[in-house]
């Protein structure tokens, strides 16, 4: 384990965030991630950076949302602010102890907290887009995430490491090679004006003309493996049903189905958690529009685990995010929300690019484009 953690730390510090001498590097994650935090700390020192590591303590978020008043919920801690406005590198580890810890919390308060952080989110995404700031979110195996995936911790670890290409002799080389594959798909998509996604209870068209497709190969997420853009805000028409439960900040909605007209959600239903869904999309104007559309392309991620970081990368899926677009894609949607929802196309799903079938049963067709 510790050898693998050292290897993982080297990927995150050396490749994903490419830490340079003098960089300030903020490392954060839940308690279970401290073994990796130590490796990251060491790896950052070796790269000449200045690491600072801090624990994410979910209990305080629970207390805040249960007991805090508006001013307290709106408060963004000084260290977080500074990092987003002035830091060089941010490495966040996702290793939850209890993925449902916010289940009892009022969604309106949660939405308020998200909204208060929006200006800083926006600022860091802009700084990221201009190259001033580098960040990565890395999954870390815990009992809680293994439990959500319905497997043992050992099994979940294996799955996660495989998905992060850590079983390769040289994981960085593996990610670079994978990046070249993404490039082939990306250069095809760059020429497309309109996509149509067809699947079970799903027939959605979206305009992508003039938008950039970002190739995501281990720089900002680990595991990684997707290609995404910000669709033209007013272009979405039709219906999409998401196969997997849609989770955000410890809460979830299952069986989510959305109908778009003129780019806006006009109907949103869920088999479970519909109130939560409604609360989230009512957060602000942008929360009703899509900020991202993406293809999941990691061949080593094959099954749903309940961890978004993995699920949105499942080879053979697409995902759509309600809310904020990612700077650099050309997307212009502003919102405090960014909620990814995944639709599995591996059984009978199709994607048409400007009318031509380019993707079927979860894979791009040879010679597509």
């Amino acid at each position: 384990m510790s050898e693998r953690l050292a290897k993982l730390a080297d990927v995150l510090v050396g490749y994903s965030t490419a830490v340079r001498p003098g960089d300030t590097v903020r490392i954060e994650g839940h308690s279970p991630t401290t073994p990796l935090q130590r490796e990251l700390y060491r790896s950052t020192l070796r790269a000449g950076g200045h690491p600072a590591a801090t624990l994410v303590v979910d209990e305080t978020v629970e207390s805040l949302l249960e007991e805090g008043g508006d001013e307290q919920i709106d408060f963004v801690p000084l260290d977080i602010r500074w990092n987003l406005e002035h830091g060089d590198v941010w490495i966040a580890l996702d290793g939850p102890e209890n993925t449902k810890h916010l289940s009892g919390v009022d969604p309106a308060k949660m939405a308020r907290r998200v909204k208060a952080r929006e200006p800083y989110q926006q600022r860091y995404l802009e700084r990221f887009d201009s190259g001033e700031f580098r960040w990565v979110l890395c999954g870390y195996p815990t009992q809680a995430s293994a439990q959500d995936a319905g497997m043992s911790l050992g099994e979940f670890e294996e799955l996660l490491w495989r998905a992060a290409f850590l079983d390769a002799d040289d994981p960085v080389a593996a990610w670079r090679e994978f990046g070249e594959e993404l490039e082939r798909v990306g250069s095809m998509l760059d020429t497309v004006k309109e996509l149509r996604v067809v699947g079970e209870d799903t027939d959605l068209t979206l305009g992508v003309a003039g938008r950039s497709w970002k190739r995501s190969s281990g720089k900002n997420n680990l595991p990684d493996g997707e290609i995404f853009t910000g669709p033209v805000e007013s272009s979405l028409e039709g219906t999409i049903r998401f196969t997997f439960p849609a989770s955000i900040r410890g809460r979830q909605a299952e069986g989510v189905q959305l109908r778009f007209e003129g780019g806006e959600v006009v109907e949103a239903t869920a088999r479970r958690g519909e109130d939560f869904l409604q609360e989230m999309i009512a957060m602000d104007d942008g929360a009703r529009r899509a900020g991202e559309f993406a293809f999941g392309l990691n061949p080593a991620v094959t099954e749903y685990t309940g961890s978004l970081l993995l699920d949105e990368k499942i080879g053979g899926t697409v995902h759509l995010a309600l809310g904020r677009s990612v700077p650099g894609t050309g997307g212009e949607n502003l919102s405090a929300l960014h909620w990814d929802m995944v639709c599995d196309l591996r059984r009978g799903g199709e994607v048409y690019a400007d009318g031509e079938l380019v993707y079927r049963d979860g894979a791009f067709l040879d010679g597509a484009g």
């Binding site: 300030t24 308690s31 401290t34 935090q37 130590r38 700390y41 060491r42 020192l45 070796r46 000449g48 200045h50 690491p51 600072a52 590591a53 801090t54 624990l55 303590v57 209990e59 305080t60 207390s63 805040l64 007991e67 805090g68 008043g69 001013e71 307290q72 408060f75 801690p77 000084l78 260290d79 977080i80 500074w82 990092n83 002035h86 830091g87």
Partner: protein, 375 residues
């Protein structure tokens, strides 16, 4: 399971020590092992309307930095850290580690470089505290490592720590500390009139000039537990000999049976039964390290034993301590040093203290109630 004493300690810290108010930006620092108190303090801060946030460090980072960091990395303080220390209204530091000796084998020079940077931050913090801009309190959360140092079980050690803080079930902690504060303040005002103290005990006869230096009560505002009164001696006015029966610890390293001889305020002879080289190296840290920056009476009688943690040891009821190195501005010190090393002298059995020739303390306690309280 939540220990109600932890919640009570948190309320004491936020309500009494820090006096948290609406809208105050409040940072809580600690290591991973302090989480139960950190989270209780966070909640307590919220309940008082403050804006709390955490800085909880994973265990084991400092040794990586000290073993592997470059000099530049060792002395680095991020702009973000500096900025926060300028903007905070309230700050709690929860000391505790999972291993109190993790840094024992670190190269002392590298340690010195790192500490010097750390003390720059600490000094700035004290400037803001003195100016009334910042409320700060340091406390300890009981862990196995600290229990081990104290040679106690964790359960016994918890009783000891919470007892010293007066947060047991049947106690009203704020009432206790307010009463103690009044008593210590009265005692301090009384000592303000003294020109010279003479401490007499086993192998000890030391005269310390304190004329013109105000005595300061430590009443639980900046440390919890607390219970001492201290001042900074006149730099040239220490004469004689003192023996420290308790081990003297600095940064986890122990020196035993320390004996110091002072002339004109400076250490002219230092010996120890173990760790003598370390003792001499510390005294040679800089000019000010051979001069006393502090003299104090330990007055927390719940603390009745030596536990190898200065937060407690310096307050053992019936002891006195002096510190080599930097003194306190609010006590009128002129002594500057990167060192501040508290050494504890046990006066509980046969100690005597004279103030300007008059016996004021015998066998571990002041002879009379402070004047202000006698009426």
């Amino acid at each position: 399971m939540r220990d109600p004493r932890v919640e009570k300690l948190a309320d004491l810290l936020s309500g009494y020590s820090l006096g948290l108010r609406d809208g105050q930006v409040f940072r809580i620092d600690g290591e991973e092992s302090t989480l139960p108190l950190v989270t209780a303090l966070y909640r307590s801060g919220l309940q008082r309307g403050a804006l709390p946030y955490l800085q909880v460090r994973p265990t084991g980072l400092e040794e990586i930095l000290l073993h592997e960091g470059s000099e530049e990395q060792l002395s680095h303080i991020s702009e973000g850290e500096t900025l926060q220390s300028e903007q905070l209204d309230a700050w709690a530091t929860i000391w505790s580690s999972a291993n109190t000796r993790a840094l024992t084998r670190v190269d002392p020079e590298r340690r010195r470089i790192h500490l010097a940077a750390h003390y720059r931050m600490v000094n700035r913090r004290w400037e803001r505290i003195s100016a009334g801009e910042l409320a700060w309190c340091g406390t300890l959360f009981p862990t196995q490592a600290h229990a081990q140092d104290a040679e106690m079980s964790l359960a016994d050690y918890e009783d000891f720590v919470f007892g010293a803080c007066h947060v047991n079930d049947d106690e009203d902690p704020i009432e206790h500390w307010e009463a103690l504060s009044a008593e210590l303040t009265a005692r301090a005002r009384e000592l303000d009139g003294a020109r010279e103290l003479r401490i007499v005990g086993p192998d000890t006869d030391l005269r310390i000039r304190v004329e013109g230096r105000p005595w300061i009560p430590s009443d639980g505002r900046h440390n919890m537990p607390d219970g001492e009164i201290f001042t900074s001696p006149v730099e040239t006015g220490t004469e004689g000999e003192i023996y420290f029966a308790f081990p003297s610890i600095f940064q986890g390293q122990e020196v035993e049976d320390v004996r110091l001889r002072f002339r004109d305020g400076r250490v002219v002879h230092a010996e120890a039964s173990t760790g003598e080289d370390y003792l001499r190296a510390l005294i040679a840290t800089d000019e000010g390290a051979a001069v006393l920056g502090e003299v104090a009476f330990g007055l927390n009688y719940e603390i009745d034993r030596f536990t190898r943690d200065i937060l407690f040891d310096e307050k053992i009821g019936g002891t006195m301590h002096v510190a080599l190195g930097g003194g306190f501005d609010e006590a009128g010190t002129q002594n500057k040093s990167d060192l501040h090393w508290d050494l504890i002298c046990d006066l509980r059995q046969e100690g005597e203290v004279y103030a300007d020739g008059e016996l004021v303390w015998k066998a571990g306690s002041f002879i009379a109630e402070p004047a202000a309280q006698r009426v």
